[in-house]
C-alpha cells in the first residue's frame, strides 16, 4: 500500500494517473509542441478525430460548438465495429489555457466533469486533465463496469489458456 493515492501526478512523457480524492483522477503529459497548436488539436473538429481515443478507434464529430454551454456531439467507432455515442457540454473555454466540460453518453447521462489545462514551458506544452465523477452513482457505475470488463477479460484469458491446453 503506497502513497500513490495521495501523490500529485508528475508531468512527463508517460501518462501517470493519480487519485487525489475518491471521485477524481488526474492524468498529465508533456507534448513537444507550442500551446496554440495543442489547443487547436483539442478544439477543432478536423483535428480532434485524428487522435481522440485509444489506438484503433475513430471519431466522427456531429457538431462542435466551442463556447460555454456549447455541445460537442460525437461517435466513437471501436475496432470491433461497436459505436459509442458521446456528449460533451463545455462550461469554460479559455483559449489557449483551459477547457472545462461535462462528458457522458448524452445530456441526460453525464458521467464526469473534466478540466483540461494547457501550460507552456520551454516550448513544450504540459497538458493536465482532471476528471471528477459527476455523481457517486456515476462513479459506482464506472467501477462496476471496470470490474465487469476486467472480469470478462480474465475469463477470456482463462478460456484462451484452456483452449491452448486442449490443442496440445
Amino acid at each position: 500500500m503506497t502513497a500513490g493515492f495521495e501523490r500529485q501526478a508528475p508531468v512527463g512523457d508517460a501518462v501517470e494517473a493519480s487519485l487525489p480524492s475518491d471521485r477524481e483522477i488526474v492524468v498529465s503529459r508533456r507534448f513537444n509542441a507550442p500551446r496554440e497548436l495543442v489547443w487547436a488539436a483539442w478544439t477543432h473538429p478536423e483535428h480532434i478525430g485524428n487522435w481522440w481515443g485509444p489506438d484503433g478507434f475513430t471519431t466522427t464529430t456531429e457538431k462542435m460548438e466551442l463556447r460555454p454551454g456549447g455541445e460537442w456531439r460525437f461517435v466513437m467507432h471501436a475496432p470491433n465495429g461497436m459505436n459509442f455515442q458521446n456528449y460533451v457540454r463545455y462550461s469554460e473555454v479559455v483559449e489557449p489555457e483551459r477547457l472545462v466540460y461535462l462528458h457522458g453518453e448524452d445530456e441526460e447521462r453525464i458521467d464526469f466533469e473534466v478540466t483540461v489545462t494547457f501550460v507552456e514551458r520551454d516550448g513544450a506544452t504540459e497538458v493536465t486533465l482532471r476528471q471528477v465523477d459527476e455523481t457517486p452513482e456515476a462513479r459506482d457505475r464506472a467501477i462496476e463496469e471496470g470490474g465487469a470488463i476486467e472480469g470478462g477479460k480474465q475469463t477470456l484469458d482463462r478460456l484462451a489458456g484452456y483452449l491452448e491446453t486442449m490443442r496440445s
Binding site: 487519485l19 475518491d22 507534448f31 495543442v38 481522440w52 481515443g53 471496470g146
Partner: protein, 120 residues
C-alpha cells in the same frame, strides 16, 4: 460498491498503521497478536484498526477455533485500481496519438516553409 463502501475504503487506507497491517497480510494470514507485534500501540488500538479494515471489506477474520486469523481481501482495491487503470489507458492511448499527430502537423509546417534561400 456503494458510496458508503468507497468512503470506508479510502478512510481505511488513509492511516499508515492500517496500510502496514495490509502489507503484512499481503504476505499471508496472521493473528491479531502477530499483527500487533511490530507496533508500539495497545491491543484495543489494533482492534480498532482491524474493525475499520473489516468495514472497508479489506480484511476477513476467520472463525477457526480460538485463534481467528485475519486475511486480506484485495477485491475492493482491485476494483478501484481497474477503474483508474481504464481511464489511464484511455488517455495514454489518446495522448500517444495526439503526440504523433502534433509531430505530423509540425513536420508538415516545416516542409511547407521550405529550405531557406541564400540571402534570407
Amino acid at each position: 460498491m456503494t458510496q458508503d463502501h468507497l468512503s470506508a475504503l479510502f478512510s481505511a487506507l488513509a492511516d499508515p498503521t492500517r496500510r502496514a497491517i495490509l502489507d503484512r497480510l499481503a504476505e499471508g494470514e496472521a493473528t491479531v497478536k502477530e499483527l500487533a507485534e511490530p507496533f508500539d500501540i495497545s491491543a484495543p488500538a489494533i482492534t480498532k484498526h482491524l474493525k475499520v479494515l473489516q468495514r472497508a471489506g479489506l480484511i476477513k477474520q476467520e472463525r477457526r477455533a480460538q485463534w481467528r486469523p485475519c486475511r486480506l481481501d484485495a477485491t475492493p482495491l482491485r476494483d478501484v485500481a481497474n477503474w483508474v487503470e481504464r481511464y489511464r489507458r484511455f488517455w495514454e492511448g489518446s495522448f500517444d496519438r495526439l503526440d504523433r499527430y502534433l509531430n505530423t502537423l509540425q513536420e508538415r509546417e516545416r516542409n511547407r516553409a521550405g529550405p531557406k534561400e541564400p540571402g534570407d
